[in-house]
């Protein structure tokens, strides 16, 4: 093959120029003096829009640009990104487990960016320690959610002559009354969830481990100093069994619970027709469940109408150690230490966050700060949830989210589901979870 020298040279020059050009346009420049801060998180859609709007409104006053990037596959994406050296400035983790696993990858301790002690001074006991490792705080919630709520239909309660229980004894009495009267089932429970079957059952267990054991034992449970096969966890499990595993407590019993999607389980709160239709009266679930309720109920929620839907705090048994609130939260962590990131993190985890419209627009939002102005909340449920946190002494962050993945997102889901479905005894399930605990080295 022969080509004239001239043509070859011309091609070479063109190619060289092309590479130089594309190289230039491809690189993104340094970050240190930048006023743009990127945030990655797991929430998308309307929530992401509301979040972006709030942060943008605030950032404008600071001369900053904040870009939020939400992804449904955040949990898997962020690991790849961070390990590949493509970390965003700030990431918002729905689970401390993934956050903690990335600490060694250039994560900046929040102590370097903010005054942790003063920022968290008005937060419930337990919240500041969620992402504390070796004395350093790596993550603080910008928003929390409360799981210790029982949802009910006030109209259905009224029609059947039931009143909202305020103590555990009253709750159990109500449950027995519902069962014996045959007017329906006391509980709606579904623990299936596409790709993560079983997590709702871990919440049930956590509610009572936290209350019977108190925060210290609860945290010891997370680090496996307290075993699953321990009197505390067994006591909590027995309490759960006495409630939702009781005869006639849930339509279809354990098998139905294991096959029903947690989101769909609540639909039967809002029907009539009693037992024959599968009507149920109470559902213990987090604040986010409102998004899964039927369309007409959601329309009522949007209008802050509580005729057909409301919530009360799950009562604490009289022999418990403490009254606690179980919940979760979205934890802010930083991967770069620049003045702009500092400002953004300060805003996100401070009590001012949400006042630029987020608390009003996203009615599932709940500030971690007890002194967050109640007037900023638009929905009655936000106030119910804030009250639950204020009144309880401690806040327990979802334990399964903090355990090693192989347990918290693995055997605990699997074995508790098997236990629920009646395929495994409680003792076997708890022993199997203990056995799966990864060796600490």
């Amino acid at each position: 093959m022969k080509l004239s020298r001239k043509i070859t040279a011309a091609i070479a020059v063109a190619a060289g120029a092309a590479i130089a050009l594309s190289g230039c346009s491809g690189s993104s420049g340094g970050n240190s003096g930048s006023t743009t801060v990127t945030i990655s998180g797991a929430f998308t859609g309307a929530q992401a829009t509301a979040f972006q709007a709030d942060v943008s409104a605030w950032a404008k006053t600071q001369g900053l640009t904040v870009k939020y990037n939400g992804s449904n596959s955040f949990q898997t994406g962020i690991v790849t990104q961070v390990k590949g050296g493509q970390a965003p400035d700030v990431a918002i983790f729905p689970q401390p487990g993934v956050l903690k696993s990335l600490i060694s990858n250039n994560m900046v301790p929040l102590d370097d960016l903010i005054n942790v002690k003063s920022v968290t001074s008005d937060e419930a006991q337990g919240i500041p320690d969620i992402a504390k490792v070796n004395g350093k705080t790596y993550g603080l919630p910008y928003s929390i959610n409360v799981k210790s709520l029982v949802w009910y239909d006030p109209a259905a309660f009224k029609a059947a002559g039931y009143t909202v229980p305020t103590t555990d004894a009253e709750l159990m009495a109500l449950q027995n009354k519902i069962i014996s009267s045959g007017s329906g089932y006391p509980w709606c429970v579904g623990i299936a969830s596409q790709g993560s079957n079983g997590w709702p059952m871990t919440d049930w267990l956590e509610e009572y481990v936290l209350r019977y054991g108190g925060l210290t034992q609860y945290n010891d449970w997370i680090t496996h100093k307290v075993k699953f096969d321990s009197p505390l966890v067994k006591k909590a499990a027995a309490k759960v069994e006495s409630m939702i595993f009781a005869n006639g407590a849930v339509d279809g019993g354990g098998k139905a619970m294991a096959s029903t999607d947690f989101g769909a389980a609540g639909n039967n709160l809002f029907i009539t027709g009693g037992k024959a239709k599968g009507q149920c009266f109470m559902m213990r679930q987090g604040t986010f469940i409102t998004g899964f309720f039927p369309k007409d109920i959601q329309a009522q929620i949007a209008k802050n109408d509580t005729t057909n839907v409301n919530a009360f705090t799950l009562p604490t048994p009289s022999d418990a150690t403490t009254s606690g609130t179980l919940g979760g939260g979205d934890l802010v962590a930083a991967f770069h230490n620049t003045p702009a990131v500092k400002k953004v993190v300060n805003y996100l985890v401070g009590k001012e966050f949400g006042t630029h419209g987020y608390a009003k627009q996203w009615t599932a939002y709940l500030s971690a700060h007890n002194t967050f102005p109640e007037a900023q909340y638009a929905s009655p449920f936000q106030k119910v949830a804030q009250n639950a946190v204020k009144q309880s002494k401690v806040f327990g962050f979802d334990a399964s989210d903090q355990m090693p993945g192989a347990v918290g997102a693995g055997t605990e889901w699997t074995n508790l589901t098997q236990w629920t479905a009646g395929q495994e005894s409680l003792d076997d399930a708890l022993k199997a979870i203990d056995a799966s605990w990864p060796a600490t080295n």
Binding site: M1, S22, G26, K100, G252, A258, P404
Partner: protein, 329 residues
């Protein structure tokens, strides 16, 4: 701006590759003819071999290395030798996973071939018009993604509480016919029932593919051979098993192995339908769990290495059959 830069990158990249070939070709052409003939193949194959090395061999080696690392609770890795393998092979659930995978790779390719063959043979007997319609229906699921198929079949297997209207098709039929309690199909691992129900989905998805290839092979069987057999007194069954089947053997093997490899990589259907619970776990799902849910890349890599080792004999066999086939031509 971005479009322009992409355009320049593409054109530039092509130009550079062209130049590299041109340059190497130029250098080789300066050598004497004997060396020219020796070097030239490598000049043109070289870059491809390099790409294979970079994107296939290096990652494989890295995966094997990664599988020897253990992860502590904070995600820090250190050398752990065979710890991951030992821990995998000493947990009952992983052995169950292996057993499940074994079931999958035996049952699914075999049934897919049988179903495909049956449909192809039967369709062959229909008139051309009916054959087309019939085949289109069988082929239709091929166009559905695995996740969508899982959603469809999840409804088929859906379980509602006893006494409530059974929304799930299978339970609707079951309770309607037997008046018994509804069965929670996907929870029921008696004799691996739920695993078999998941397999149905994969067979449903792949039967069309098998049918198309096998049908083409059957049509390519020379009519004279079948006629000759009939004249010699062979009945339908004998004509099929003794004349047609041997002549389409290579196609059967090809379909079998393609489906087998699909099954070994299986993840999405199990993920969407049972999440690997109730004893339906497979290797692909286990890899996902270890890597993404449990944040243990070392163990995940070990699962992958086991998978690679399991696939190797299949590929060797396939290459060998392919060679035999080529040699016949």
């Amino acid at each position: 701006m971005q479009i322009l830069s992409v355009f320049i990158s593409v054109v530039g990249g092509l130009a550079v590759s062209f130049l590299i070939y041109l340059g190497l070709n130029f250098i080789v052409s300066k050598t004497n003819t004997r060396w020219n003939a020796r070097l030239l193949p490598y000049v043109f194959l070289g870059p491809v071999l390099l790409l294979i090395a970079v994107f296939l061999i290096v990652p494989t080696v890295l995966t094997v290395y990664q599988s020897l690392l253990k992860t502590d609770q904070y995600g820090l890795q250190s050398f752990g030798g065979l710890t991951n393998y030992v821990s995998l092979f000493t947990t009952g659930s992983f052995l169950q996973t292996l057993l499940n995978n074994l079931l999958w790779i035996i049952v699914v390719p075999a049934l897919t071939v049988i179903v495909g063959l049956a449909v192809a043979t039967l369709a062959d007997r229909m008139g051309p018009k009916r054959e087309k319609t019939f085949k289109s229906i069988i082929f239709l699921p091929m166009a559905i993604s695995a996740i969508a198929a899982s959603s469809i079949w999840k409804f088929v297997y859906y379980y509602s509480a006893p006494g409530q209207p059974q929304v799930g098709l299978l339970n609707g039929i079951w309770t309607g016919l037997t008046h018994a309690q509804p069965v929670s199909w996907l929870l029921n691992d008696t004799a691996h029932l739920n695993s078999f129900l998941l397999m149905v989905v994969v067979i449903w998805l792949n039967a069309g593919y098998a049918m198309v290839l096998l049908s083409a092979a059957i049509k390519a069987v020379p009519e004279e051979t079948i006629e000759a057999a009939r004249i010699d007194g062979a009945n339908e069954r004998q004509a099929f098993f003794r004349v047609i089947a041997p002549q389409i053997r290579t196609t059967i093997v090809a379909v079998f192995i393609t489906v087998l490899i699909t099954v070994m990589k299986l993840f999405d259907i199990v993920f969407a339908m049972t999440n690997g619970q109730f004893n339906t776990n497979v290797l692909g799902m286990e890899f996902y769990n270890q890597f993404f849910s449990f944040n243990n890349p070392g163990k995940a890599s070990a699962v992958v290495v086991i998978l690679i080792l399991a696939v190797v004999p299949v590929i060797v066999y396939q290459v060998r059959t392919y060679r035999e086939q080529e040699a016949l031509r």
